[in-house]
């Protein structure tokens, strides 16, 4: 029977399956960080259990760490980081701690090390684990009880999710990014459109994307409500993985390639749900509301509740506009910003930084705007510095920071003040996400850079700039 990419990966990981019970599936790689692991480690300790496969586990510090290079001053954050630093060696798990020179956002370092690879299962106590699906892995976020379950058993009890194919049809216009594609798609299907599904992304645009761009797309699968996102591996994938620190070498590499090339959806394979997103006329996207589905083209206006007939939808919209401090019907381009954040597991990789630097080069951050760039990992930071990107940013007036999750979720000192408005390359614009009372607009790195210079949103396609890096 014709199989989907998901079917292939799922079926080769089923350890046990009985009617009426969830399947027991094997987890090849478990990523850990400080926030969702302490209670799981404590659970193991209380039950007197071992961590089954430290060799399939890796931990980093990312959510809580200050990015100004200074020490952790928040006592709670320090306690949590100290707990990770004590728990990892106690259970044999390798830890890429702050200051090790190898740390970074958990979803950045997995691919960077070559641990993320086609056909494997990856979990992490973080919903953006969907990022790793860009390599044709089945990767999804779990809660702390499941973190403990994987620690103890290297397996998870899972009901088989449904499959969705999201086909990006058409030709991506110049100046349109992977971020615009996924924001546009979420705007189309809504924040619950993918619930219960694993999405496979297909189409010429996806095939033309680099791995960084594919990671941006898969990263935001969860913002459409999906369990995971996947992209079939191809030569782009293999070129990215070749010679990474953890990648197979020599004959093992050749064997891996033979196996990975089989990881495709067969012609005629059936998906539970099919979605087509036309990208021919896609315009740079800007979220205006309090979830990622509340998004509009930069050339459009903020919606007007008066135009909405459905009561519930109108109330949501009114609430969102009130929280965001926006006028119904105003032009997106007239929204003025206070802060710019370029970073997060969505858009903090080297290509993201090059793209933003290209727009910024030779310009200054607008008066009154505070802008910062936070690389996703130490290796990315060093790479960017070797290319001179840091200079382009700092000369323009951006802060150039240390690696971490930073302002994506405000668990560290990088937060918005009440009422402050940001252009952010992160993934969530929920109320208070970047700081209580803060107002977040999600955009691509190019759009964030352009907004930093203008002080308000602008259509980056109208600027002329040359690629750098």
């Amino acid at each position: 029977m014709a199989q989907t990419l998901f079917d292939r990966v799922w079926e080769r990981h089923v350890v046990r399956e009985e009617p009426g019970e969830p399947a027991l599936i094997y987890i090849d790689l478990h990523l850990l960080h400080e926030v969702t692991s302490p209670q799981a480690y404590e659970g193991l300790r209380l039950a007197g259990r071992k961590l089954r496969r430290p060799d399939r586990s890796i931990a980093t510090m990312d959510h809580n760490v200050p990015t100004d290079g200074g020490p952790v001053t928040d006592p709670l954050a320090k306690t949590q980081l100290d707990a990770l630093a004590a728990n990892c060696p106690a259970f044999g798990v390798p830890l890429y701690a702050t200051g090790s020179g190898r740390e970074g956002i958990v979803h950045v370092i997995g691919p960077e090390l070559g641990l993320t690879r086609p056909g494997i299962t990856i979990v992490c106590g973080d919903s953006h684990t969907s990022t790793h699906g860009a390599f044709g892995a089945l990767a999804f976020g779990i809660g702390t009880s499941e973190v403990e379950h994987v620690m103890a058993t290297q397996c998870l009890q899972q009901r088989r999710p449904k499959t969705m194919r999201m086909h990006f049809e058409g030709t991506l216009p110049p100046g349109i990014t992977a971020k615009d594609c996924i924001l546009g798609a979420i705007g189309q299907i809504g924040v619950a459109g993918g619930v219960g599904h694993v999405i496979e992304y297909t189409g010429d645009a996806i095939e033309a994307f680099t791995m960084e761009q594919r990671m941006t797309v898969c990263n935001m699968s969860i913002e459409a409500g999906a369990r995971a996102g996947m992209i079939a591996p191809d030569d782009t994938t293999f070129a990215y993985l070749e010679n990474r620190p953890a990648s197979p070498q020599g004959a093992e590499w050749e064997a891996a390639l033979d196996e990975w090339r089989q990881l495709r959806t067969d012609d005629g394979a059936e998906f539970a749900t099919e979605v087509v997103v036309n990208v021919d006329d896609l315009v740079p996207q800007v979220t205006w509301g309090t979830n990622p589905g509340m998004v509009a083209p930069v050339t459009a206006n903020v919606p007007d509740p008066a135009d909405i007939t459905d009561d519930e939808e109108r109330q949501s919209l009114e609430r969102a506009l009130e929280y965001m401090g926006l006028q119904a019907g105003m032009a997106v381009r007239d929204i003025e910003i206070d802060r710019v954040f370029i970073g997060s597991c969505t858009n903090s990789r080297i290509e993201d930084l090059r793209a933003a630097a290209s727009v910024v080069k030779g310009h200054k951050v607008s008066d009154g705007v505070h802008a910062m760039v936070v690389p996703g990992s130490v290796p990315i930071k060093l790479q960017a510095e070797s290319e001179g990107l840091d200079k382009l940013f700092t000369e323009a007036g951006f802060e150039w920071r240390e690696a971490g999750c930073s302002m994506c979720l405000g668990m560290n000192p990088d937060i918005l003040q009440p009422g402050e408005r940001s252009a952010s390359t992160s993934n969530r614009n929920f109320e208070g996400r970047q700081g209580r009372g803060g107002r977040t607009h999600l955009v691509s790195p190019e759009m964030a850079a352009a907004a930093a210079v203008a002080g308000h949103f602008v259509d980056v396609r109208e600027l002329s700039y040359e690629p750098v890096g």
């Binding site: 969702t36 209670q39 306690t79 390798p94 779990i142 499941e146 103890a152 209580r436």
Partner: protein
């Protein structure tokens, strides 16, 4: 997980769709390393103003919803972050059950693991139940996981469906890890048959 069979108590209604876990438990509290004590932080930013005073416009501050054990909310409840701290906080505040037209996947899974019962009903059923709640004097309900029924104060009963495996786990307070470890031989056999090329320890230097 503690065993749960049924609960009878007041109902609280937050009639909003797409309530995300950043609202349920804001990020500033996620730095705690304890497993308990989360209830006081539930819906912090919505429940309390900047000075820590209750915001009268927020549903849970309605005296008719005080000490509620059953929470009703709009569709796609629990979307966003995977933080299990969200069901911990809902439970810690005193709720045993959440009723909604739909739940986000990770949130639902986390609820099952901690014994907070997520009851999914068709949107019109949830709407009817919400409309029947007396928002001035409060209303009681019984949610029975064994019988798979919701009974209103007026005696009217609505049936619901629930994953049979998870229902059994919650009714008996079973330890998921212990259940899986019964199949340790199968896990070991899987590992033998599927040797990995992944070794995070080999990266150590």
């Amino acid at each position: 997980m503690e065993a749960f069979t049924r609960t009878t108590g007041r109902v609280a209604v937050i009639d909003r769709p797409d309530i995300d876990t950043d609202q349920v438990i804001p990020k500033q509290f996620l730095k705690r390393i304890e497993r308990t004590g989360w209830g006081e932080f539930l819906f912090w930013d919505w429940r309390l103003d900047q000075d820590g005073n209750p915001r009268p416009d927020f549903e849970l501050n309605n005296p008719a919803f005080a000490d509620a054990k059953i929470l009703m909310a709009g569709r796609n409840f629990g979307c966003g972050s995977s933080r299990e701290h969200a069901p911990w906080a809902i439970q810690g505040y005193g709720f045993d059950v959440v009723i909604a037209p739909s739940f986000a996947d990770i949130f639902r899974s986390n609820c099952m693991k901690v014994g907070l019962v997520p009851v999914e009903l068709p949107e019109e059923r949830v709407r009817a139940l919400m409309d029947a709640v007396d928002t001035e004097n409060g209303s009681e309900m019984t949610v029975d996981l064994e019988a798979l029924t919701i009974t209103g104060a007026d005696g009217s009963t609505v049936e619901f469906e629930f994953d049979a495996f998870r229902r059994n786990c919650i009714l008996n307070g079973l330890d998921d890890i212990a259940l899986t470890l019964k199949h340790e031989a199968a896990i070991t056999e899987y590992e033998r048959a599927n040797p990995s090329r992944i070794d995070t320890l080999a990266l150590e230097h």
